[in-house]
């Protein structure tokens, strides 16, 4: 072994020794007056829906009076590299962040693990917080984790399907196997639709590259397609629509961006609202509210969104009141 290697090893060991002695002592810090809280926001990947949540969070915090020089916001984006999540969560812990917010499940899990029951973690738009082990129950989270859940209003989606294509019998549901939220919603929708008398067929893609092939098969087998809130399907929406249009099969997606990309209609929960509510909750927690008894807020209230161009292309007649609600409160793509 050469000298340089030995030197570096000695330095690392010496540093660890010093840190070992030092970390035990410096734990206590006195909070000053006019204390400026630090908030860490951790996002899994850049993606239109997740960016909307982030925008909402900042606005929610602002509403609670945390803006400008009253707060220090550290925003980190792991760019889908899960190894980064740990480092970034640790960075927040090291800054003694008073609170952290996680956008997307892996980000939230990483924060919760690093916080280890101590500093509060606010979830923003986590589809299934109980199933992923982040909270004990939605009503009483039980520890340092709470937040907002972006639950899709599946019953309303089923209603939209009934209204748009009343004659449809065979419903295809497509989701990405690697997307926990997509899978969760797809399976719940399958149950709902089955009990409503539909003949349900499930289709999965493992990456967006599979979309072409899977969509071809699906379009030839079903009358209507439901696309849940799923990052993979959302990214490959254009491919899906190309194929379903050829086969004259309408697609009912879960969110407004997917209607814009060629879905016919949906009731869309605003991602911005999910973030906004999470921001409000974060503000409340910073002001002293206890996370253990602060219920998870599930946001299911949505607005009607329709795509008239797509409806015309497929020869569908949307009910008059549907168009009216969309024009009044929701979004209409022409």
């Amino acid at each position: 072994m050469n000298k340089r290697l030995i030197t570096i090893i000695v330095v690392i060991i010496a540093f660890l020794g010093v840190a070992f002695v030092a970390t035990g002592k410096s734990a206590q810090q006195v909070k000053k007056q006019n204390y400026i809280p630090t908030v860490g926001i951790l996002q899994l990947v850049t993606h239109p829906a997740l960016d909307e949540i982030h925008r909402g969070i900042v606005a929610g915090l602002k509403k609670q009076g945390y803006t400008g020089n009253k707060i220090k916001i550290d925003y980190q984006n792991a760019q889908a590299n899960q190894a980064n999540l740990k480092t970034m969560s640790q960075k927040f812990a090291n800054e003694n962040a008073d609170l952290t917010l996680g956008i997307a499940t892996p980000a939230a899990l990483s924060l919760a693990k690093t916080a280890d029951g101590n500093s509060p973690v606010i979830l923003a738009g986590i589809t299934d917080p109980v199933g992923s082990g982040l909270v004990k129950t939605g009503q009483r989270p039980g520890a340092n984790v709470t937040g907002t859940s972006g639950d899709s209003p599946l019953e309303q989606h089923l209603n939209v399907i009934k209204q748009v294509v009343p004659k449809a019998k065979k419903l295809g549901i497509i989701y990405t196997t690697s997307d926990h939220g997509g899978e969760y919603n797809a399976k719940r929708m399958a149950q709902l639709a089955k009990s409503a008398g539909y003949d349900v067929h499930m289709y999965t893609i493992s990456t967006t590259n599979d979309m072409q092939q899977v969509a071809e098969t699906m379009a030839s087998q079903v009358d209507v397609v439901y696309a849940p809130q799923d990052n993979g399907v959302a990214s490959a929406m254009k491919t899906l629509i190309n194929i379903t249009n050829k086969n004259n099969v309408p697609v009912i997606p879960a969110v407004n961006t997917m209607v814009k990309d060629g879905g016919v209609a949906t009731i869309s929960v605003s991602q911005y609202d999910i973030g906004y509510q999470a921001g409000i909750m974060a503000g409340q927690v910073l002001k002293g509210k206890d996370t253990a008894t602060y219920p998870v807020k599930t946001i299911t209230k949505g607005d009607m969104v329709i795509n008239l161009k797509q409806a015309k292309l497929l020869g569908l007649h949307l009910p008059e009141d549907m168009i009216k609600t969309a024009e009044a409160k929701g979004e209409v793509f022409k």
Partner: protein
């Protein structure tokens, strides 16, 4: 200070991958893409077993065995099926995604409030972040010492000879195919073990956690080599471990310099590329060698 401790801890944990990849990348001399499949495979196996109430140590060891099976498949495809090694690895890596989904039953399994190798009572008394330093140190020490011992044995020497010159090795009666398969099994078993440990440290297993793993493992090997130069085989293994720690510190430095995290992947690629080109750059910039070359040519 505690963030540096944490980075050292992460470096020690991830060093398992570096050492494991060293067996194929440096000793057998080929890039084995299987690791991007065997890493999440190990994580999936261990986390699923733990969440079903099985002892975390047993779960971690099972991950090692399952990972080595992935290596076995790549090895068979390569040696018996005559599929080029890069392709064989990619095939197994792709197949592993479906296997992992089957094992986990969903894309993400959390370990919050579950026992893991990090929740043993001794670790609870350590200062913050020292748990991963402690566990990482013990695991990597056991692995490295066993490998050092193994590489001195007759089989170990035959394994090295296979990588150095397969034809020569064959001519002195070494069954090179067997050696290659064994190397792949050992390497992927260790990678899966690393996956199991890191998943427990992170608190979850995710179907996508294998993406970019080979770069992290390569980084520790390359940084170790560039930083410490010529070493004995045992020294090189130690250099990989230190390289893994240095890589984490470099990433930490980049993050705390305030670079946009959007650029993180680009930056780690650049760090690696520069590290790999360093010997060439040094040669190109050294005037005396240039002159020497000129002189000898004219001779």
């Amino acid at each position: 200070m505690s963030i540096i401790v944490s980075s050292i801890g992460q470096g020690l944990l991830w060093a398992v991958l570096g050492v494991a990849l060293f067996l194929t990348f440096r000793i057998l001399n080929f890039p084995d893409m299987t690791v991007e499949g065997s890493f999440p495979l190990g994580a999936a196996t261990a986390v699923t077993m733990i969440s079903h109430g099985i002892n975390p140590y047993l779960a971690t060891l099972t991950a090692l065995i399952i990972g080595s099976i992935a290596g076995l498949v790549t090895g068979l495809l390569y040696t018996k099926g005559k599929i080029p090694i890069l392709l064989a690895g990619i095939l197994v890596m792709t197949a592993a995604l479906s296997i992992n989904l089957r094992i986990m039953g969903s894309a993400n399994i959390s370990l919050l409030n579950q026992k893991s190798i990090f929740s043993s009572p001794i670790l609870q008394h350590l200062p913050k972040n020292f748990d991963s330093v402690f566990v990482g140190f013990i695991i990597i020490t056991i692995i490295t010492l066993s490998l050092m011992f193994f590489l001195q044995t007759e089989i170990g020497q035959a394994f090295i000879a296979t990588g150095d010159n397969a034809n020569m090795a064959q001519s002195i009666g070494i069954k090179t195919d067997r050696m290659t398969i064994m190397g792949l099994m050992l390497s992927n078993g260790l990678i899966a073990l690393g996956g199991a440990v890191i998943a427990q440290n992170n608190g979850y297993a995710d179907i996508n956690m294998g993406i970019g793993i080979i770069v992290i493992a390569l980084a520790s090997i390359i940084i170790g080599e560039v930083a410490f130069g010529d070493l004995s085989l045992n020294g090189r293994l130690v250099a990989v471990i230190v390289g893994s720690i240095l890589y984490r510190l470099v990433l930490l430095a980049v993050l705390s310099l305030g670079f946009s995290t959007n650029d993180l992947n680009l930056i780690s690629a650049i760090v690696l590329a520069v590290a790999m080109m360093l010997p060439q750059l040094r040669k190109a910039l050294k005037f005396d060698t240039v002159i020497k070359k000129g002189v000898t040519k004219h001779d």
